[in-house]
């Protein structure tokens, strides 16, 4: 269901973009009107100051409105078989009340998208992703006893992330939330309605995601912000989230790769191997969609791979092309996401590198263009391959989290 905000009650032709179920609750916090569209909803690039929002997640608690994320519920007797064929990970090994990160591919072994699979019950799953793909899910269900429903509008969700997120949730009355391990979920209740809490997030920090029926959105938001008031809780926008996910080494569709359904040029679709996601592909679990193409791909050495790099200077290498030498004679890769990491004080980036450069044994240079006082300057900085995630604090995995 769509939340009944004033905007959402207007006739559809007057309403080019929806507001999320939490919009009315947090709209008083929006100071700079930095709106952006995300799958049909209006969302915020930042509420007030993206730097402060970033530090809220690393130091206290930041809350991100997840409602526009596409959510599909998949249930039925064949749900496990269906999911196991759809995605690259082994779903048969996944226990109920667990969450897993995975990708799913087309016949050619090219990535359609990455996202998370929630196993709500033995025969009930939820797939969360950024792009709509109901035709693919439905066509994949031919021959399976499953029901697939898009629940994006019915479910409201908030990501509550940061070192004291657990404290705030406990203060709200979610007793036992501290025993949730990373990628585990639990069912709780608040003021008489169900709240599903998963220990998941897109920030690389300690954090949780709260899932409720959209009708209780305002109640949950008020309770959360009341409990967090004295802990420095604040809403965050997508600019801060992007910084956080780069530090965590997490990839983003349409930034690190395009869905193979949307690429036009023949060499733009990516295999999971090219994305550096070998670890989410279980080649031994039996057939899954795209497996045969991936078996064939494995026979050849990998031509390019997405890796983390460190740039030896202090200017972000946004969109930089990477070269084999300081004279930039041969291009060997390009940067997809770059960040001067405020926490690490390092100039990090996600980048595609050709073989053999992704192995990290050869030196390389980034060609960076800087706009300084209305004049472009070209700089060439040396860079090095570095392991991902760039930032992984111990608290991310610690169970129960430290009581702060």
């Amino acid at each position: 269901m769509i939340a009944n905000t004033a905007n959402n009650q207007r006739p559809i032709f007057e309403r080019p973009i929806l507001e999320t179920p939490f919009y009315e609750s947090y709209k008083h916090l929006i100071q700079n009107d930095q709106y952006e569209e995300w799958s049909g909803y209006t969302t915020l690039a930042s509420f007030a100051n993206d730097g402060q929002e970033y530090f809220a997640v690393r130091n206290t608690c930041g809350v991100y409105d997840l409602c526009p994320m596409i959510k599909y519920d998949i249930s039925g007797a064949d749900a496990e078989r269906y999911m196991n064929r759809l995605v690259t990970r082994n779903i048969k090994k996944m226990l109920p009340e667990r969450v897993t990160y995975t990708v799913w591919c087309n016949d050619d072994g090219h990535v359609i998208e990455d996202g998370t699979v929630f196993r709500l019950a033995p025969t009930e799953f939820r797939l969360c992703c950024a792009e709509r793909q109901i035709e693919w899910l439905l066509d994949s269900s031919i021959g399976y006893d499953v029901v697939i429903t898009e629940v994006t509008q019915d479910i409201a969700a908030l990501a509550v992330q940061g070192p004291i997120s657990c404290n705030i949730l406990k203060k709200m009355g979610f007793t036992g939330v501290e025993v949730l391990k990373p990628f585990q979920l639990g069912n709780f209740s608040l003021n008489g309605y169900d709240v599903m809490i998963s220990r998941t997030g897109f920030t690389g920090d300690l954090g949780y995601e709260l899932w409720i029926d959209a009708e209780h959105a305002d109640d949950l938001w008020q309770a959360l912000f009341k409990a967090g008031e004295l802990f420095g809780i604040r809403m965050i926008g997508s600019l801060a989230l992007d910084m956080l996910r780069i530090e965590a080494g997490l990839i983003l569709v349409n930034v690190e790769y395009m869905s193979c359904f949307q690429t036009v040029r023949p060499n733009r679709a990516r295999t999971p191997f090219e994305l550096g996601l070998d670890w989410v592909v279980d080649m031994n679990k039996g057939h899954f969609i795209g497996r045969r193409a991936l078996v064939a791909a494995q026979k050849n050495s990998l031509k390019r791979k997405l890796v983390g790099i460190d740039v030896d200077w202090n200017k972000q290498a946004d969109g930089a092309l990477l070269y084999d030498s300081k004279t930039c004679s041969r291009q060997i890769g390009e940067v997809t996401s770059a960040l001067w990491s405020p926490t690490l004080k390092r100039n990090i980036a996600l980048a595609y590198l050709d073989a053999p450069y992704y192995a990290g044994e050869k030196s390389m240079w980034a060609e960076v263009y800087l706009h300084r006082e209305c004049q472009w300057e070209r700089k060439v900085y040396e860079c090095h391959v570095t392991p991902k995630p760039f930032y992984a604090p111990e608290r991310k995995r610690l169970t129960p989290p430290e009581d702060l």
């Binding site: 078989r81 016949d107 693919w136 066509d139 021959g143 057939h287």
Partner: protein, 521 residues
């Protein structure tokens, strides 16, 4: 339980499955054919319609099987005898003004000298084009990958064959190949009935009208069939089409193949991404090194193979294949020889066509697009008993007709519609052969849905998959199956849904056997 272990198990004992079995057995492989029906033959079968009266219940003419295949398999030694070859074709008219096609010439009271000359020219042009396509139709579908020099040369060869036609004819070929037959025939001829009779050869068994794009291509496909059959033209096996299937079965068995009927396959067994055998409806399992499916692609990949082993894009393509049969079969047992207007008693054994004009064909075609039955059909009629008295008790005749175009009727009114349509067809026949209704001793009409049930073909489509541009050559039925291999290793396809296409040719079976022996993938 696993009852048997074979090198190869073939799902379906249609003519292609039997041909495939024969070639594989001759190459020394242990082969088992499992056929769901009580009798082998698929759509090339002879059935008893009434006591003492037998009819070819599916295909009723043999016209496209390569003579080298017939010789290879020694079918004559295994009992194949043709009761008649080079049948004439007579286009009927309810005024009695018929047109006769005999050995590349056309005659008829209303056929002008100009049309006769045009026919000679038309026949030459079309045969020239069909001949250019024949090497492609007779072999494995060309491989469009260009990784090796062999593959590149093969594609170049295909282009060269067309260029060899000469500049004028290559251009003409490329012009006509995509257009509709209606326009092409208008370019050559004046006589409306003549045009309609020729058009029928492009349209039999298909979902086309004369004005449908690509109908020239299906005509050339048909001509290529005539060209490869060693001059037998339209032929009738003695004992009906079932006799051909029995000869094929004997050839296969003589080479060591085993054939089991009444054994319906429930699923194809797959282990570790490889076909390992089949499981029958009764639970019995037969282990095999590879499995060849003679069933149509939809049945093979949407019913017999568990989707766990297939990719979504592949299933999508299989589902979207056009396989809606529009041809019905009419079978009549007649108490005596029917008297068709304009046909002398001696010519009763000709192939007779009811297709007065191309517009009438279009009018017969239009209703099926909206799931309705036509009021006047177009037909191809064969009275095999005129050549083969063994099919009937003395004095009687059996009439077999392909009646077009019928919808795939899965409504609750199916039975009532069938009964009503049979009456319509009999009324229509009465106009061409007065008194025929009174001669009918037994009648049967098989709608596309009946054909689906009786022969196990999805959609009741003769050619399994529409013979159309988008499903020709390396795209037939889908690129992943074009060379008889499938995404699953050890699983092959050999039915009419494969290259080169439908009709009783055996080519798909022979090519599939070749691929199995090569271990091709």
């Amino acid at each position: 339980m696993t009852s048997q272990q074979k090198d190869i198990v073939i799902v379906g004992g249609g003519h292609n499955g039997l041909v495939c079995a024969a070639y594989l057995a001759r190459a020394g492989r242990s082969v088992l054919v499992v056929e769901a029906a009580a009798e082998i033959g698929g759509a090339a079968r002879t059935r008893e319609l009434a006591p003492g009266a037998r009819v070819s219940s599916g295909a009723h003419l043999l016209h496209a099987m390569p003579d080298d295949l017939i010789n290879d398999l020694n079918l004559t030694a295994h009992g194949l005898k043709l009761s008649s070859v080079r049948l004439n074709t007579v286009s009927l008219n309810n005024t009695g003004s018929s047109i006769v096609f005999a050995d590349n010439t056309v005659s008829g009271a209303e056929v002008t000298a100009k049309d006769k000359a045009a026919f000679a020219r038309f026949d030459k042009d079309m045969n020239r084009f069909a001949k250019a396509l024949r090497p492609v139709f007779d072999k494995l579908a060309p491989d469009v990958s260009i990784e090796t020099w062999g593959q590149r040369l093969e594609l170049l060869g295909l282009g060269w064959t067309l260029r060899k036609l000469g500049r004028y004819h290559m251009r003409e070929f490329l012009r006509v190949i995509g257009i509709n037959f209606y326009d092409l025939l208008d370019e050559y001829f004046d006589n409306a009935q003549l045009k309609a009779a020729i058009a029928m050869d492009a349209l039999l068994g298909s979902e086309w009208g004369a004005r449908s794009m690509g109908s020239v291509l299906t005509y050339l496909y048909r001509l290529a069939g005539y060209q490869r059959n060693g001059g037998m033209g339209l032929a009738l096996p003695e004992g009906g089409m079932g006799a051909l299937s029995h000869a094929l079965a004997k050839a296969a068995e003589a080479a060591g193949a085993e054939i089991r009927t009444g054994a319906r396959v429930k699923r194809i067994l797959i282990d570790d991404d490889r076909a390992t055998g089949v499981e029958l409806e009764n639970g019995e399992r037969i282990a095999a090194g590879c499995v060849v499916s003679n069933a149509d692609p939809k049945q093979t990949f949407l019913k017999l193979v568990n989707p766990d082993h297939l990719d979504t894009g592949f299933i999508r393509r299989i589902r979207n294949l056009r396989s809606k049969g529009k041809a019905a079969k009419l079978h009549l047992v007649l108490s005596g020889a029917p008297a068709f207007k304009g046909v002398e008693a001696a010519n009763l054994g000709s192939r007779m066509l009811i297709a007065p004009t191309m517009d009438e064909i279009e009018l017969a075609f239009n209703p099926c697009k909206y799931k309705r039955y036509p009021t006047a059909s177009v037909m191809e009629i064969i009275i095999a008993s005129a050549h083969d008295s063994s099919l009937v008790s003395s004095g009687q005749h059996v009439l077999s007709a392909v009646v077009q175009y019928l919808p795939y009727d899965d409504t609750p009114e199916e039975d009532a519609n069938r009964t009503a349509f049979l009456e319509t067809v009999l009324d229509q026949l009465e106009q061409y052969a007065p008194g025929i209704r009174a001669q009918v001793m037994a009648a049967e009409l098989l709608t596309p849905r009946d054909i689906e049930r009786q022969f196990g073909i999805s959609g009741g489509h003769w050619h399994h998959v529409e013979l159309a541009f988008e499903t020709f050559l390396f795209n037939r039925p889908v690129p992943a199956l074009a060379r008889h291999c499938s995404p699953i290793s050890g699983l092959y396809v050999c039915g009419a849904g494969c290259h080169p296409g439908g009709n009783v040719t055996g080519i798909a079976g022979r090519n599939a056997a070749q691929q199995v022996l090569r271990g091709g993938h």
